[in-house]
């Protein structure tokens, strides 16, 4: 009995001591107060190799690395970042960049011309060897010459706008040469270097560095105190820690906002936007260069007939698209290139004209009652709404539309099949695109050039169009105005043939909690989904 009592008292004392320590002592320990924000991003991170990554990793790369220059879509101008100035030769085949001094990488090594040479050559050569990444932006670069520690000279095999390429959103990031030793490789093309990056290591000069990397769930960035730009920005309210949470389900992001676990949400269900505003959250709408393009299968009956395609296009009530399908979060497209992007052409739009549509259907020789298949990505609510709208209106023409919503990977499979087995590829398909570099070539080559068999889901092969696009790209470096004119002509051909149409440019509502302010400089549609956290102000 006495033994039991002793044990009981001892246990009670132990619990008391532990509870006191946990509840009263620990919380009093001094801890530095860090300004932390949580950004809910809507996709998994596919990689963070600064030379190779060409997808969702941009969200990380954009804060951790820097490019030589940056493109400003509002003014169409180029602003200096790691390069302070640049000059080009008259014929556009030699470009010289003067680099910013007193810049250091996250590992403390200095930024200089060697790093620029290594970064450009690696991106270019990986692409030349394997086709991976977006190193084709450096295709024209024949030689990267180090003039002195802070000057590089690019010698090109053909004239090219290197100022635009140096501002690209992919494969233009500069990393430290010390990475080779860190990764234990001698050759920059060694796959082990890519593995090293993708383990969560970084070697950039950006305002934040990677502290924790779990690409399927969370990435944590920490403020880089030695970033050269802090003194320029003078933003003492910038976050010290940025947590990027991967939340693919919009409803999940909405729940996270309600739970005060998310400060910036990139994707909340459109139908919940009203509710979230009523609860005191702020919305920042970004008109993006992310557009949705409707493509017709030009290798299968009946969409191989021009008049039939145009009949479909004239039967769509375009004025309803933004309101009905996008709930207002979009801008009706024109041509193929998004609004505000170089090469955009106004007035390449179709109007709702049922009479003309019926006339064109008659001219096409296609009998009413025909059925066509329409494939689109199932997890985009806008696509579903648009597909329903199209189906109902095209039915008035006597054309049945079989809707086939699919996962993105299946959509891509179905789209590519237009080249190998056009009869099995859908008649209609929606592709979405965001740019790599500020050039119309990015959209027009990828989506409609006959050599682009990965992404040209229309199976479109028009030598005149191909020639115009290729020629325009070659001319960008020497006669930019003429190049834009050729791109415009190429889009006009597509418009007249009704092969593809930009349905809409996405307007993305970013939802902010009350403690966060996001000035417009923090977003740039060329660098899709990248938030420049150095501009964010956190109110405690």
């Amino acid at each position: 009995m006495r033994r039991g009592l002793t044990l009981g008292v001892a246990a009670a004392l132990a619990i008391l001591v532990v509870t006191t320590y946990f509840l009263f002592y620990l919380p009093t320990l001094e801890r530095p107060k860090l300004k932390t924000i949580v950004y809910a991003y809507c996709d998994k991170i596919t990689g963070i190799d600064p030379s190779i990554e060409d997808d969702t990793g941009i969200v990380i790369l954009g804060s951790v690395y820097e490019t030589l220059l940056r493109y400003n879509p509002l003014t169409g101008s180029i602003t200096p970042v790691l390069a302070e100035g640049w000059e080009r030769s008259k014929d556009g085949t030699v470009w010289e960049f003067r680099l910013r001094r007193n810049v250091v990488f996250h590992d403390g090594t200095p930024f200089n011309a060697t790093a620029v040479k290594l970064s450009i050559e690696r991106a270019r050569d990986v692409y030349r060897q394997t086709g991976r990444g977006c190193g084709y932006i450096w295709d024209a670069v024949e030689e990267v010459e180090i003039v002195d520690e802070y000057t590089v000279r690019l010698k090109l095999s053909y004239p090219q706008r290197m100022d635009l390429m140096a501002a690209a959103s992919y494969s233009a990031y500069i990393f430290s040469p010390s990475t080779l030793a860190e990764a234990g490789v001698e050759n920059p093309l060694d796959p082990d270097l890519e593995l090293w990056f993708n383990q969560g290591n970084d070697a950039g000069t950006g305002p934040y560095f990677i502290e924790f990397y779990s690409p399927e769930s969370e990435v944590r960035l920490r403020k880089f105190e030695k970033w050269w730009g802090w003194s320029v920005l003078n933003n003492p309210e910038a976050p010290d820690v940025v947590v990027i949470k991967i939340r693919t389900d919009p409803l999940d992001q909405y729940n996270g906002l309600l739970a005060n676990e998310i400060d910036i949400a990139s994707s909340v269900p459109r139908v919940n936007i009203g509710d979230i505003v009523a609860r005191g959250y702020k919305i920042v709408n970004l008109t993006t260069f992310h557009n949705y393009v409707l493509l017709f299968n030009t290798r299968r009956h009946p969409t191989h007939i021009r008049e039939f395609r145009l009949a479909i296009l004239y039967s769509i009530p375009w004025s309803e698209v933004v309101r009905t399908a996008l709930k207002g979060f979009g801008r009706l497209g024109s041509g193929i290139i998004p609004y505000g992007f170089p090469g955009h052409v106004d007035e390449l739009t179709y109007e709702y004209n049922p009479e003309l549509a019926r006339k064109l259907l008659l001219e096409s020789g296609v009998e009413p009652g025909v059925t066509i298949e329409f494939v689109y990505q199932s997890d985009y609510e806008e696509n579903e709404a648009f597909a329903q709208l199209l189906k109902s209106r095209v039915a008035e023409l006597g054309v049945n539309v079989e809707l086939k919503p699919m996962a993105w990977t299946a959509v891509k499979d179905a789209g590519k099949e237009v080249w190998s087995n056009p009869e099995r590829a859908p008649h209609l398909i929606i592709s979405d695109w965001w740019p790599t570099m500020p050039s119309p070539y990015d959209y027009l080559y990828s989506l409609l050039h006959s050599e682009s068999t990965e992404w040209n889901w229309a199976g479109y092969a028009n030598t005149e169009f191909d020639k115009l696009v290729d020629e325009a790209y070659q001319l960008e470096g020497s006669n930019y105005a003429r190049a834009l004119e050729l791109y415009s002509r190429a889009q006009k051909i597509v418009y007249e043939e009704g092969v593809a149409v930009n349905l809409w440019d996405e307007v993305r509502p970013f939802v902010l909690s009350r403690r966060v302010e996001m000035p417009e400089e923090a977003l740039n549609p060329l660098y899709m989904y990248v938030i420049r956290f150095e501009y964010i102000r956190v109110k405690e």
């Binding site: 990689g47 060409d54 997808d55 086709g131 993708n198 693919t248 999940d252 676990e261 891509k412 080559y445």
Partner: protein, 341 residues
């Protein structure tokens, strides 16, 4: 000794056969279904070299080989313990699996810590009150708990808590974790918080863990309640129990030492089976509560054609089933001398 070498060898053989079967079947389903893993591995390349990149990726992944060679290669990878890099994330498959497995296990363990004792106690209570109103209520509750979809229950719990300002979203408060410099050692956050004597994090993690754990605990609670009630009711009528009562043995001793003990072999076996089912429940519930874990990982892996990660995950789940069922068999043999393995 209730265990024989013969049993161990048989068990090992069938375990390997099951794992090989899971691997082959999953490979066929995932690789032959829509979605091109080679395009994903190449990073969905753009530009003039895109087609070349995809073809090279196909070779690197061995997807250009005849199907039987692909299957053999993949089996070799599985049984040498190297599934390579995830196609979507370009990180070793096992390191991704471990990060997420820990999250799911933490939830599952908590659900079991709640569910098995609670179900057993209610089952005992129901058996002691057999034939009465309370017995009827408890039996019906057990049936309802065992049959309510955990997904629905999870949503109901989440929605119920929100109006009271209490949300169990995610595994941990990000701000608190950063403010208290919380470090991840094992991936089991409760354990990590204890190891670092980090009370705020411990209670935060616990508060976020309990609501989803309650949803996952519903099934084992219901099943245990019903099985213990049935076995216990039988045991209370056994000769040795009645003799003990007649001899004036204390009620507590009769219930726990004689009657409840007789239910243990059955309870252990059912708990093992319920564990497998609850693992699936946990994978679903974690999605509702915004927690990372195997469920979310599997969904994402399949949606991006990451067959290496998806199969690795299915192998882990299958291995758990095998281990738990083996443990249940062995435990049953140890508890019940009539059972020989």
């Amino acid at each position: 000794m209730p265990l024989s070498l013969n049993y161990l060898f048989r068990r090992l053989f069938w375990s390997i056969a099951v794992l090989a079967g899971v691997t082959l079947l999953s490979y066929l389903i995932l690789v032959l279904s829509p979605g091109d893993p080679a395009a994903k591995w190449a990073g969905n390349p753009r530009g003039p070299g895109a087609a070349k990149a995809v073809e090279l990726a196909r070779k690197e992944l061995g997807l250009d080989l005849p199907l039987h060679l692909q299957l053999l290669n993949f089996l070799r990878m599985v049984f040498t313990g190297d599934l390579g890099l995830s196609i979507a994330y370009k990180q070793p498959v096992y390191s991704i699996l471990w990060r997420n497995l820990a999250a799911t296990l933490e939830l599952l363990f908590m659900a079991y810590i709640i569910g098995i004792p609670l179900g057993s106690l209610l089952g005992i209570f129901s058996a002691l009150k057999r034939g009465g109103h309370l017995d009827g209520v408890l039996q019906t509750s057990g049936l309802a708990l065992a049959n309510t979809p955990a997904f629905w229950l999870g949503m109901a719990i989440f929605a119920t808590l929100v109006p009271y300002g209490f949300t169990a979203y995610g595994r941990i408060s990000t701000n608190l974790a950063i403010a208290t410099n919380f470090q991840i050692f094992t991936g089991l956050y409760l354990l990590d918080a204890l190891l670092q004597l980090n009370a705020p994090i411990f209670f935060d993690v616990l508060a976020r863990l309990l609501p989803p754990a309650l949803a996952v605990a519903a099934y084992p609670t219901g099943v245990c309640l019903r099985i213990v009630r049935t076995l216990m009711a039988d045991a209370l009528l056994e000769e040795h129990v009645r003799v003990a009562v007649a001899w004036g043995v204390k009620r507590r001793t009769v219930v726990w030492r004689y009657a409840f003990r007789a239910t243990l072999p059955g309870l252990v076996q059912v708990s093992g089976l319920a564990f497998a089912y609850s693992l699936v429940d946990a994978m679903v519930v974690e999605y509702v509560f915004g927690r990372e874990g195997l469920g979310r990982l599997l969904f994402d892996a399949i949606s991006v054609s990451d067959f290496r990660l998806a199969i690795g995950l299915l192998i882990v789940v299958a291995t758990f089933y095998l281990i738990i069922n083996t443990v249940a068999d062995v435990a049953q043999a140890l508890i019940d001398p009539r059972v020989k393995l």
